[in-house]
């Protein structure tokens, strides 16, 4: 099986697995206990915190472990919103292409009386810093913009937005779930106030994540209970997962440059190969995208059938089609970059990882080309396009 869905999840690394087993063997105590097994676990927990902090150029005290990226996003956004409210600010700025963990939290806050501005991203899938600047008002409590988009892989101008928000004294959060371990992150240089990461996107375990919160910025808990995570996140810490995530992040950051250099070559060949398919187009900016992401729309076909046929051929991929989401609407990201519904249904996301080879890429190109050709052959929409009864959206 060629696994090309690394943006969905990654296989837990051998190092992470080993550290998790070791934790269950040797650090099984409760970090809140005063006895020796508990204190051994507490030390291991703080070591993991320091490791994660170092990878982000943060202080250990600025790292809070959560159950994953979604929880970190929820907590960061709610906390910043309520902090703003106490100061008479009820406006939040974000983008149209955020993950649902952000968008749905914002929709909930809107019902609670907050005003939310979702900025457009244009056809390249990148928000403009000047649009963020223009949207900031005296009552803006928070700007939240993702680091890397999960569907089309576009890299957002995080350092520029960070500098802008710092200057305008607005809290800045970034959902860095697709960036951590894949792109350099420096919360100091990039002037980030809050940042969410998720363990399983960089070969750590799932069910664990972290939230960075800049020192001095108040953080409100989502989950009430014990005094874990300095009263900001109750519940006995999942130490095996936390240590597994920490070691996976360290490994990913150490190998980042080398892995990205290799992936860029694979990605570029994949884009080149798939660009030969007529009436198909790359989604998102050609240059400002992560080394792993290739996202295409093909006219006249539907994404789910493409995924099922590719799976039969031994290729695991993903799509933003409605049918793969369980809803009737295709991906909000593809709609936001201007793909009409009928084209957004025919999307394919291939996200590469370090175990992929050039041989994999060549097989993907051949199999995707064959699959698109076959599905177009049985598609009445494609025939109408070819007969000129319907206009091509992608030339």
């Amino acid at each position: 099986m060629i696994y090309a869905d690394h943006a969905a999840t990654t296989k837990t690394s051998e190092t992470a697995k080993r550290v998790m087993m070791e934790t269950m063997d040797q650090f099984w105590g409760n970090p809140s206990s005063l006895h020796t097994p508990g204190q051994k676990a507490a030390e291991a927990l703080e070591e993991a915190r320091a490791t994660v902090a170092a990878c982000l150029n943060a202080q250990p005290r600025e790292i809070f472990f959560t159950s994953g990226g979604s929880e970190a996003d929820n907590q960061a956004i709610r906390s910043a919103a309520y902090l703003g409210k106490r100061r008479g600010k009820n406006h939040i700025i974000s983008t149209a292409i955020e993950h649902h963990a952000v968008l749905h939290t914002l929709a909930r806050l809107e019902k609670e009386g907050f005003e939310v501005t979702l900025l457009p991203v244009g056809s390249e899938g990148i928000v403009k810093v000047e649009d963020v600047a223009a949207a900031i008002r005296p009552e803006t409590a928070l700007v939240t913009v993702m680091f890397v988009n999960n569907e089309i892989g576009t890299i957002q101008p995080i350092a520029e937005i960070g500098a802008l928000c710092r200057e305008r004294k607005v809290v800045f959060h970034t959902d860095a779930v697709q960036a951590a371990g894949h792109l350099p992150i420096d919360v100091v240089a990039q002037k980030i106030d809050m940042l969410s990461i998720s363990g399983h996107k960089f070969h750590g375990p799932r069910g664990t994540g972290a939230l960075y919160v800049r020192k001095g910025l108040p953080l409100q808990p989502l989950i009430e209970g014990g005094a874990q995570e300095r009263n900001k996140r109750a519940g006995t810490e999942d130490l095996p997962a936390i240590r597994g995530m920490a070691v996976a992040l360290k490994e990913a950051c150490e190998n980042m440059e080398q892995v990205n250099a290799r992936l860029t070559v694979l990605r570029d060949r994949l884009i080149e190969g798939l660009s030969q398919i007529p009436h198909g187009a790359l989604n998102g900016d050609r240059e400002r995208r992560v080394a792993s992401n290739v996202s295409f729309c093909f006219e006249g076909i539907e994404g789910e059938s493409m995924l099922l046929l590719l799976d039969d051929k031994g290729i695991a991929a993903s799509s933003g089609s409605a049918c793969t989401s369980g809803s009737l609407d295709p991906s909000h990201v593809l709609l936001a970059i201007g793909r009409p519904h009928e084209v957004a249904h025919g999307s394919l996301r291939l996200s590469l990882g370090e175990e992929n080879t050039m041989e994999d890429v060549e097989k993907i190109i051949t199999d995707v080309t064959d699959t698109v050709t076959y599905l177009r052959g049985i598609s009445p929409v494609w025939k109408e396009l070819q007969r000129g009864e319907r206009s091509y959206v992608i030339q």
Binding site: E302, G326, L328, P340, E342, I378, P380, R390
Partner: protein
């Protein structure tokens, strides 16, 4: 698995796929915006559906339900095709996930739209009530 073995079989090896250039009735239902369009071609001799072909733009279950619908009506009298229900298609496929049931409705509507086209072209009188829900293919979009 998302789909039953029968659905996957009809998806991987669709029966009666293609077009009939001199079809006696053609029905097209669905909406590209919603991600599924089915086109059904019927060849009818002496009130018997002697040949049927389909073309589908859509997900796995859209292709499988079209394929199964053609099998269920091939060789049958037109009146039998008019009795085809989406439940019959679903049962013949050993079930569909709940959010895919609309695909089976489309398959039923595609068959009926093709029959209506045949009736219209041949001046055969029918009760318009039989086709009352033909335009109901937007499934609540937007």
């Amino acid at each position: 698995m998302l789909y039953s073995e029968k659905v996957m079989d009809h998806f991987r090896n669709p029966r009666n796929v293609g077009e009939i250039p001199d079809a006696d009735g053609i029905g097209e239902v669905g909406n590209a915006k919603c991600g599924d369009i089915m086109k059904m071609y019927l060849k009818i001799d002496d009130d018997i559906i002697t040949d049927v072909k389909f073309e589908t733009f859509g997900c796995g279950s859209a292709i499988a339900t079209s394929s199964m619908a053609t099998e269920l009506i091939k060789g049958k009298p037109v009146s039998k095709a008019m009795e085809l229900s989406n439940q019959a298609v679903v049962e013949a496929l050993d079930g569909l996930p709940a959010y895919k049931l609309h695909c089976s409705v489309l398959a039923e509507q595609a068959v009926k739209a093709a029959v209506k086209d045949y009736y219209d072209k041949n001046g055969i009188a029918y009760d318009p009530e039989l086709f009352a829900d033909d335009d109901d293919d937007e499934h609540g979009h937007e």
